[in-house]
Symmetry: C2
Subunit: 345 residues, 2 copies
Amino acid sequence: MTLGCPYGTHRVLEPQGVLPQPALRLDNNFSVLYDNEILIEVRVLNIDSASFTQIKHQAKGNSAAIADILKETVSRRGKQHNPVTGSGGMLVGKVKAIGKALEQRSLRVGDDIATLVSLSLTPLRIDEIISVHTETDQVEIRGEAVLFESGIYAQLPADLPQKLALAVLDVAGAPAQTAKIVKPGDTVLVIGGGGKSGLLCLHEACKRAGITGKVIGLSHSAAGLERMKKSGLPVLALQGDARDALWLLRQIERLTKGKLADLTINAVNIPQTELGSILATKNGGTVYFFSMATSFTAAALGAEGIGKDITMLIGNGYTQGHAEIALEILRENLRLRELYASTYA
Amino acid sequence: MTLGCPYGTHRVLEPQGVLPQPALRLDNNFSVLYDNEILIEVRVLNIDSASFTQIKHQAKGNSAAIADILKETVSRRGKQHNPVTGSGGMLVGKVKAIGKALEQRSLRVGDDIATLVSLSLTPLRIDEIISVHTETDQVEIRGEAVLFESGIYAQLPADLPQKLALAVLDVAGAPAQTAKIVKPGDTVLVIGGGGKSGLLCLHEACKRAGITGKVIGLSHSAAGLERMKKSGLPVLALQGDARDALWLLRQIERLTKGKLADLTINAVNIPQTELGSILATKNGGTVYFFSMATSFTAAALGAEGIGKDITMLIGNGYTQGHAEIALEILRENLRLRELYASTYA
């Protein structure tokens, strides 16, 4: 039996001795498979929002140019790992082969799965780009990918359309972590509350904070504000620019009678919102940074610079049960499901 | 009475409407002071370790070239905010003037203080660079700086030499947070344990984990290994490269009989140690990233990529009582005090 490394180092070509995520280039020759790999026939790439925004900007919104950028990255790196943002995304496809060492899993050839590890570490080969959906960050392709032994995935639920499930699974970490952190009675601020992960976070925040809590959502756009209002959730919905830290502070002071937020969840994919997140949070509170646009130093020095004693967490895309928690939201909240289907799937 | 913004936005010249830390340029004309500002006659700049390493590298180790780089940055930005690393440091000086609105504070003109907010947001004017100490990251200057109303500071203790106190205060956040997180019986790994903040973290980790705990220190250099051994602390001292994530995993597996660390404190000022930190930590455990060289995306995607359910914290340079906790270490551990004095002060 030929076993690769559970973390996939056997497919790292450059530089030697690192893990697949920081690697510059992966081996995407799938003619020989290791006995602890799963081969997937890929149908859809769901590009990470920060990454897709950057690619769309570089391609000036042109679909053919977006396709060229994706093909160039994957042929050079052996993975869809955006060299500018450092982020990836996820994929959906059909299981084509399962290594002998993984035969005890409840997974069969032919099953539809979504990978829940980042594309930034997943060996991928693109044979053809079929279509680019600029509104949903999704790209239909013909190609293959490999999942390592440690790679997590979800079998797609039978009761939800595939594209909808994929859109939710892409951001499943944020609402699942929200569910685990929010306590009854908390005041929670979700920055980017009208967005793809923000809406799901708002649902969990409202559910877990409950009737004695207060949930505030901030969106930059009028469309996002509208989505928060249409969600059916008891959210105080705000529109404005989170980069304007002092404006945000004044708004949250006003809405909380000066007490500020116990927990701020940053789920907005634009840079320079760290200080606003910190200012809006009370001493002893927590900021959860889920945005891939977060700057570590801006957050660390920002809190120190204003002498604020808060806990700042790096959003981990994985927490146990995250796929189940996130998908369940669409069953609990039909208004949100409709909104989600019409916007992101 | 002319009051400035407590957070110092009144001294931001470019771009308008942001806080002093992200600003490109601050007003360092101190001929007019606001009534909630403190004017300091600066004696010593203690440059952040990541920043000083970068400057030293750029200057090829030459002291005069280092001085030129510092003068250029401060004349352009009105603050010692390293444009490459984004980090700052702190300063020591004598209080020269206290605004009327702050007269109720227990601070007098003539007091020696160290600022505990980053130089990256502190308006500063350098009149002369007197000497550059490449071994301690400290620079003696003649100049002035302003502390805003929200800016935290520490009066220098009478029983400790000034340079020693300054070296400790510069990294006070890390050991104070360590003290607050470590529980009796914990297995703690300190990456960069032989360094300036790492040694203090090791002291607090040993003290708080106690006889039922286990504390492991990792240093890249032989000198750091030697410092850990000389510290008098019951530390399992390792030498090696934390960027080699799989090597680190094997070492921590060996030392913990496969259980891994409950808490990993990353206090090493080199990039690409995120994955090693994550791999060394058990499911359900915590990684505290104190290094300014931490990449947010590498940490976030790294944990997701290997499906690890851990809490990842962004090191906050401030937590209540951090100066007191950190300075007390030198009174509790005289071996560490000697070591610290001979290495960093």
